[in-house]
Amino acid sequence: MTTSEKYVTAAYLVVLAVILLYVVLYTFKLSRLEREVAELTELAQRRKAA
C-alpha cells in the first residue's frame, strides 16, 4: 500500500468512524429517552392510584 493509498483509506475510515460515532451517540439518546418514558409511566400510575 503506497502512502497515498493509506491516506485514502484513512479518509474513508474517518467518514465511517464519524457515522458510527453518531449512531453510538444516538443509542445513548435512545436509552435516555426510554428511561424517561419509564419514569413518566410510573409517575402516571402513581397519579392514577392516588
Partner: protein, 227 residues
C-alpha cells in the same frame, strides 16, 4: 407518527444501500485516474460531503425563513437540526480535504484550495451559531435569533467564496493549481452515486435526529402535565 416512521425506515434503507454501492464503486470499479492514480478516489467522498454540507446549510436557512414567515415554532427545531448536520458534514469536509491536501501536496493545510478555506470560514460561522443558541433561553426569542443568523450564513457562503477568490492574488499567488477534476463518463456515474448516498445519509440522519428532538419536547410536556 407511523407514516414518518415508515419514511424514516425507507430513508435509512436507501441511505445504507447507496452508501455501500457508492463506496464499492469508488474503491473498486472507478477507473484509475491518469495522473493522480489511486489517490484521486478520495474525490468521491470529499466533494459529495462538501456539497451535502451546503445542502444542509441551505435547508437550515430555508426552514429559518419559514419560521420567520409563518411563526410556527416547529421550524426552529428543523432549522437547528439541519445546521447541526451541516456542521458535522462541514467538519468531515475539512478532515477529508486536509487529507487530500496531504496526498496531493504533502501539506495538511493549504490556503490556496478555495473550498477548504471556505469551509474553515463556515465552520467558524456555524460554531458561533451554536454559541448564540446556547446563550439564549429556549423560546420564541432564541428561535428568531437563530433563524436570522442561519439566513446570514447562507448569504455568507457565496460572498466569502468570492472573497477567497479575490484574496488569492494578493495573499497567496496560487502555487498548486488544480482545475476542476476532469471526469470521464464512468467517473461521473460513480460521483453521482456517492453524492446521492451522502444526500440520503443526510436526509436519514436528519429525520432521525428530528424525531429524537421532538420526542424530547413531547416528553417534557408529558412530564409537566403529570407533575
Amino acid at each position: 407518527m407511523s407514516l414518518s416512521n415508515n419514511r424514516a425506515v425507507l430513508l435509512a434503507a436507501a441511505a445504507s444501500m447507496l452508501l455501500v454501492a457508492g463506496l464499492a464503486l469508488a474503491l473498486f470499479w472507478a477507473p484509475e485516474d491518469a495522473d493522480q492514480g489511486f489517490s484521486q478516489r478520495i474525490f468521491y467522498i470529499h466533494v459529495p460531503i462538501a456539497l451535502t454540507a451546503y445542502a444542509c446549510f441551505g435547508w437550515g436557512a430555508w426552514k429559518a425563513l419559514r419560521l420567520l414567515w409563518t411563526r410556527e415554532s416547529r421550524y426552529d427545531l428543523e432549522s437547528y437540526t439541519a445546521v447541526h448536520m451541516g456542521l458535522i458534514f462541514g467538519i468531515l469536509t475539512l478532515v477529508t480535504g486536509s487529507i487530500w491536501a496531504k496526498i496531493s501536496w504533502g501539506v495538511w493545510w493549504t490556503w490556496s484550495e478555495r473550498q477548504l478555506t471556505l469551509f474553515l470560514v463556515l465552520f467558524l460561522f456555524y460554531c458561533a451559531y451554536f454559541m448564540l443558541r446556547f446563550s439564549v433561553e429556549p423560546g420564541p426569542r432564541r428561535a428568531n435569533l437563530s433563524a436570522v443568523y442561519a439566513l446570514f450564513g447562507v448569504a455568507l457562503i457565496p460572498v466569502s467564496f468570492l472573497a477567497i477568490r479575490l484574496a488569492e492574488n494578493f495573499i497567496h499567488p496560487v502555487v498548486f493549481t488544480r482545475d476542476g477534476p476532469q471526469m470521464s463518463g464512468s467517473m461521473f456515474v460513480v460521483f453521482c452515486v456517492c453524492l446521492a448516498a451522502m444526500l440520503a445519509l443526510f436526509a436519514s440522519l436528519y429525520t432521525n435526529e428530528l424525531t429524537g428532538k421532538r420526542l424530547d419536547a413531547r416528553l417534557r410536556e408529558l412530564r409537566e402535565a403529570l407533575e
